[in-house]
Every structure is written in C-alpha cells, then in structure tokens.
Symmetry: C2
Subunit: 216 residues, 2 copies
Amino acid sequence: MPKETFYNLDKEKREKIERVALSEFANFGFHGAKVNRVVDKSGISKGSFYQYFTGMDDLFVHIVENLGKKKISFIGSELKLLGEKDFFEKFESMFLSGVKFYYSLSEDEITISKMLPIIKNLCSEKLEVMKKEANQIFFEHLIDEAISTGEIQADRDFAFVVISNTSKQIIQYLRRKNKVMGIEKVFENESNVKEAISLFLDLLKMGLTKKEGKNE
Amino acid sequence: MPKETFYNLDKEKREKIERVALSEFANFGFHGAKVNRVVDKSGISKGSFYQYFTGMDDLFVHIVENLGKKKISFIGSELKLLGEKDFFEKFESMFLSGVKFYYSLSEDEITISKMLPIIKNLCSEKLEVMKKEANQIFFEHLIDEAISTGEIQADRDFAFVVISNTSKQIIQYLRRKNKVMGIEKVFENESNVKEAISLFLDLLKMGLTKKEGKNE
DNA sequence: TTCTAATATGACCGTACAGTCATATGACCA
DNA sequence: TGGTCATATGACTGTACGGTCATATTAGAA
C-alpha cells in the first residue's frame, strides 16, 4: 500500500498521479508500465515517487483497490435493500446497479478491469482476492436460496453462468443501441436501461423456471 | 511477418520459438515481453532472432495469426455444412465447433485470446482486423436472415448479444462442471458437451421466438 | 578440395530503466 | 531569527534492454 506521505498530499496532486497511473497501466499493461513515464506525466520527481510508493506494484495495487472500493460503494448500497424482494426483483436491482457502476467508469478503468483476470506473475494476496469478483460469491448464495425455495428450477451451474453473465450482456446491448442510435449516452436515460434489463430478465425467467405442462 | 529465414527452419526449432514466445506474451503481456528472455529460453542467439523477425511486434503478430488460422480451421470446416440446416441447428453446429476450438487451446493461447481486445498502442492493421472476432460478422448475417424468414422474432441487437455470448457461457458451464465433478476433461466426452449446448440452445429458443398466446 | 551463399553467433553500443542518496526546499515552531 | 522535521529533487549507479555487426559456421555446388 502507498506510504503515509502519499495520503498527506493534497487531493489534486494525489488524483493527478492516480489518473496518470491508471492511463499508464491501461495503455502498457502491468509489466509494461514504467516509473519514468508516470513520473514525467504527473510532474513529480522520481525521488518523490519512491516516497509515495515502494514501486510500480504498489501503485498498481492501490489503483485496483480504488476500483474495488468504487464498485463496492455502487453495489453495496443496493444490497441492503434486497431483503423483501423476490429472486428476480433482487437481480433486477443488482443488474441496475451493475450497469450504473459500469457507466461510471472511464475507458482506462474498464481496460484495467478487463486486464485483471489475465495478469500473471503478480504476487499480491490482495489482488488474488480481488480477481475473483466479489459478487460471484453473493450470486451463488442467492441462487442456492432460490433453488431451495423453489423460486427457480434449474441446474445450479447453469443458473450461475447465465445470471453472472447477464450484467455484461445488458451493457453490451446498451452499447450497441448507443452506436446504432448515434447517441453516446443512452444509458443516462434510466428508462432505457430498465427496458433493457427487463428484456434480459424475461429471458432469465423463461430459462430458469420450468414451464407447467411440460414433462419429460 | 517473419522473414523467410524463419520458415526455412526445421519444424522443431520453429515450434520451440513459437512456444516460448506464446508463453512470454501470455506471462508478461505485449509491452512487457522481452527479446532477451525469448532468446535465452528458446536457445537461439539474439542475432538469429533478428534474422527471423524484425522485432517483438513482428513475432507477436505471427503468434496471433497462428491462433487465427487455428480458429478458422476449426470453425471454417463447420461452416460449409450449414446450408440445409435451420437457424438453431446452424448455431448448434457453431457452438460445438466453438467449444472444440476452445478446448484445443493451451492456457497460454487462451490468455493471448483474452489479451487481444485490450492491447493498446499496437500499430498493426492486421491485428486491428483480427481483434474483431471474425465470426461476429457471420453471426450478424445469420441473425438478419433468421429475422427476415421469421425463424426468430426478437430485437436484432438483443439476439446478437445473447447468441454471441452463448459459446463463452457454454464453456464456462463446462468448466464449472469439470471442477465440481473433479474431472479435468469432461469436455472430451462429446455427449456431455452436446448436452450442455442443448441446455443453452433451449434458452435461446425460448428467448428469441415469441410464444403463441402471449399478446401485448 | 575450394568457392559461395545462407545462416548463426555473441560481443558491443547507445539507451532506457529502477532504485538510491546527498542535497535543497519549505513549513512550522521556539 | 535559527532550528527541526517532513518532503522534494534530480544527478547518479548499476543493470537490462533493443538492435547491430563483424566474424564464424555450415551446407552445398563446382
């Protein structure tokens, strides 16, 4: 983690460094990112850099942790409100917050997110944990619950795969719509987002609940 | 592309270099891959390296092109047989060859595949083309056809997103089954694979064909 | 054998890099 | 004012890298 000195910096300078680092890792990858470039672009001296971080690994972990915190603040706030809802309502909420989180990310942050699962030779237990998307564990729990109450009737692994990919698919769908419509920010219209979500939710409902009258 | 000298090498030596390069790029990424390491690990001199390739970019393009050819030989052979089949049968075939292709890949090759879409600052028109998965264009064509014949009734973009993600999901599902069952090679049992495919195919059928008796 | 062309080699060069450290700067207090 | 502590700086060092090139090796042809 960054040294105390880094957190003593004024917000502007700190965020500048973080912005530059984000771009550096996104553009050149974990093993291609260079201290020299970060130092030049963020206008600090190399000596200072090593007073903030022990090295690039340290900086990378910090960047990824920021990303993780951002995600938790999006998803976490939604989770508290799930208590009374039924299974599909719960997922509707989670998809919505998932989409909102995604659209809150910059291109560089998206790149880092995609990069994470394929980084090798990175010895940081913290990141190992982070690589496994936290909400997956939560998904599995919800699915098991829904199976036991009979809310869904489907193979557990099938349900997990289909559900855990839905957020990404909704986002892909919205991006395509954006391109086709020539509008860059369809997602900002929440009703469009909700419409897209219901499209995929219907698919889930059909696929995960056995229809009556169909025996095999 | 590699120089003639490289292709004059005997197969064993050539494949050794390719194997080392694959591992190098998979482990350290495009910008982190080093000539020195490749040279050491594959037991050739640096001078020779530069008689085979103009540099690491060149080598990378070669590796990715190999991967592309491998894919085409898997998918392409299937495409010729699609003529008479209906829409969902066509996709059944494509999913099957997709899964077979995936399981023919080494871990390193899988890593490179995942890496491709997020590599920046790579000035190679060839790769730009390759980054867009070739079969996507083919998917779109098939979908348009199926919509016009009435075989599917669904939003075009919705159909595309759902279908184009199905291969990945089938693979994810099979991998989960592998883990749960403790058997590493469930996929080699083709009937397991076909069963998984039909699971997802049913979902597609439900989602992309409007049920009778449901009006809105 | 000798000649020729293709290929192999690693020492070598200039550059870019990570990381250090003596020094400078500034801020706060006595 | 002078003293002290936290921070800033960039010149410096050793290393690793990309890329070159004169030389060595090999294979085949004459």
